[in-house]
Symmetry: C2
Subunit: 458 residues, 2 copies
């Protein structure tokens, strides 16, 4: 933890308390000039991910989309067509370079902004959004450095505006059913969890194209994402895994991440794929990728649990988030899931419910403990991305803005979950040394109540 930052953080908190700016005290801005009660959402970044959010929101009756920003004019034009086709008013476009989002944020007719730009832009864009008095929704990860995590927290506390992390995996039907079971005590006291991002981003051409190229001009995320594998060695993408786990374990609300130790294997996957696709003489074949193929982190919590988090994206394998939830009364785990098979694979064991020492398929449990939220919106979510998860995360942001309440995944979650990246890098660089998590809540984790309550609305 950066001690300079720590000191400035303390100064800030003192100042904030004196001026009455603490988040819990700050009244949210009053919505005004709404078009028939609709909320008004702007977008920064309408590439692949941002566009899917535009589509999703354009279908809603309670949202208008007055403004779109992207450095690529064709992206903005394409998103505009989607908005207009949905019968909404034509949005204004902001395409005058990489800082044009600041011009968009000068508008006073936006209630919230969804940010889906390359990772390194998330913090400055979210900070500027909050400082302009708008709800910020930021794609994952929220930040890639500890300073960035602190910047988000400080901007939210000083502006009184929330910053929601758009972590769609928190709304997977299975993890919500498990959350219900956890909160009903079915697993007893939780002791151990596992999660991660096990997704082959090489085979599916996310990190390199079919000829072994990446970077400027290759299109898609390989434009910028692959560079992180060259310069950094840590868990680059922790939030899909840790989000649901943090909810099961009440992180930031009665519990917190205390320490992390991380380990990285050698790096083989990207290099071998480049050679296979472009030959040993390909310019990219000489790159020394820093990012190990498998990064494993162990997080200890204040309440005594351990969480194993994995980043495994450059070797051939089927996709999973590798969730495991173990308590004093039972265990659920799925390491070989797919959207279609998961429910039939033996994956849950609950003492006194399951046959003795025998895994059961999760299907019947999913049915019994299914979230009310899922039941209510199954039809709405049917065509949303990522098996429907995207509907729920957008819905949570929209409903939070409509009610002017803190979103169910807030800036402290965004900071704590995203901090896994820089902390894992530090641990790996020190040979697996344990590194302490900053307490972004400044002690409020001890008394904060859970705000992620899908059973009570969204």
């Amino acid at each position: 933890m950066n001690s300079d930052k720590d000191i400035s953080r303390k100064d800030f908190v003192k100042t904030a308390a004196m001026t009455g700016l603490g988040l819990s005290m700050a009244p949210f801005s009053i919505l005004k000039n709404r078009d028939k009660g609709k909320i008004r959402i702007g977008f920064i970044g309408v590439g692949g991910r941002g566009t899917s959010h535009v589509k999703g929101l354009a279908e809603r009756a309670d949202v208008t989309i007055p403004a779109l920003c992207d450095i690529r004019k064709e992206n903005a034009e394409n998103a505009k067509r989607i908005v207009v086709s949905a019968g909404l008013e034509e949005p204004d476009l902001y395409t005058r370079g990489e800082k044009d989002y600041l011009r968009m944020l000068e508008r006073d007719d936006l209630d919230g902004v969804i940010i889906a730009a390359p990772w390194l832009w998330h913090v400055p864009m979210a900070v500027a959004t909050m400082k302009s008095g708008k709800y910020a929704a930021v794609e994952v990860p929220a930040a890639t450095t500890l300073d960035g995590c602190w910047d988000l927290v400080e901007a939210s506390e000083s502006s009184g505006m929330p910053c929601m992390l758009m972590e769609n995996s928190c709304y997977r039907p299975r993890v919500l059913a498990v959350l219900n079971m956890v909160r009903q005590g079915i697993f007893g006291e939780l002791v151990h969890a596992r999660c991660g991002y096990f997704h082959d981003l090489v085979s599916n051409d996310v990190l390199i194209d079919s000829k072994g190229n990446f970077g400027e001009g290759t299109g898609g995320e390989s434009n910028w994402r692959t560079q992180h594998h060259i310069n950094r060695n840590g868990d680059l993408y922790p939030t899909h895994g840790i989000g649901p786990v943090a909810h099961w374990l009440d992180i930031n609300r009665g519990n917190r991440f205390e320490t992390i130790t991380s380990s990285a294997t050698m790096a083989r996957g990207l290099h071998e794929a480049i050679v296979e696709r472009g030959g040993a003489g390909h310019p990219n074949a000489s790159i020394d990728f820093q990012k190990g193929d498998v990064v494993t982190s162990t997080i200890k919590t204040a309440n005594g649990q351990s969480i194993i988090v994995t980043h495994n994206t450059t070797l051939p394998r089927p996709k999973t988030m590798g969730y495991l939830c173990q308590g004093t009364k039972g265990i659920w785990q799925v390491l070989n899931d797919s959207f279609n098979e998961e429910e039939s694979i033996p994956s849950i064991y609950i003492e006194d419910m399951s046959p003795n020492e025998h895994w059961e398929p999760f299907g019947p449990y999913l049915e019994k403990y299914e979230s009310k939220l899922i039941k209510k919106h199954k039809k709405d979510a049917a065509n949303a991305g990522h098996g429907g998860d995207d509907f729920y995360i957008r819905n949570a942001f929209v409903e939070s803005v409509k009610r002017q309440v803190t979103p169910p995944i807030d800036v402290y979650d965004a900071a704590a979950w995203s901090a896994i990246t820089p902390l894992s890098e530090e641990s790996i660089s020190k040979g697996g040394h344990p590194i302490e998590f900053p307490d972004f809540t400044d002690g409020k984790w001890m008394t904060n109540e859970n705000i992620f309550r899908p059973e009570e609305g969204f």
Copy 2:
């Protein structure tokens, strides 16, 4: 690593070299006075585990059992009946207290000794066995301290007698098939592995009886094993998991364990079970168990791989060793296995062989890559313990003694695998600090060839 020990170790190596006692140079003792070519095996410890080995060896045509030792006379008498019933000559019994094994080792008509006593006795018994000029076979774990690991190595090198670790899990048909696949390059270069001992020893009354009692007089392993959970916090039982993984990764033969970081959760399982069975007023309910319910260790290897090892024995869950083997070309994992179901669960993915990003059941692979050893002895192993694994581990010891060769799991394996226990304790006591593994081979890991070759015999 104990630096005093390190120094004495170096002195020893020097002395050994000067006197020509290095293991690689030492001629094995010549068998003499054999009963029709049979080898002669004695036993130290014939409780539950030792007795199953007596049964297994008594059935073989190439073994006699001249001597049995146990502190409990009834155990020795029972084992004697088994030997006699099998048509072998009546063995002599050694039951005069806990040091009577030394009297047994004075005999000159034993070729090897199988040791299956409480953990703390493994090292002194194995050392005395080797020093008496006999092959030692020791149950798992071989040692519980680093000093113990060194003692075994030094006794083997100075006596010229081997010490085999009786790790039966190395002979599970599935891990042998995976070993074949690894050695044939099907997984590409190995990058990551997982394993552990996930076995609820509370529900099955191994650690406490039905009334919440353990210790002297409760019978079975709770007599002595539960005490380790009171005084120690680490991975108490690593070898079932790490054995097969060590073979996949060529540990001690071209690769070695370099560092370990370990983490323990809170301890709940034993306490809660005691309260449930004996009430909150039960004397054992006030015990402060040091051993966390879930201990997770991350081992880094010299070749750049990581291995996640878990000890998870005091919470309700089905049993597994949790094997995972991942390379640059594919992955196999089974976390929800059982002897009957494992082959039908989606658990393997090999690039260019499996359907794109889709797990396959392991059954067809098991058939295709089945070990010749398993094919040959399927009938012999059918009634042996632990799904047949016990036949193969005993067979490996017997065949090694018959041929007077180093057993396929040798003293360096016994030391490196067992060292996980004390090293994990040290890491946990230091908040997850990385701890270095001693190099028990004194550098020979760089040139040693693989000796675990089930395809070539045993």
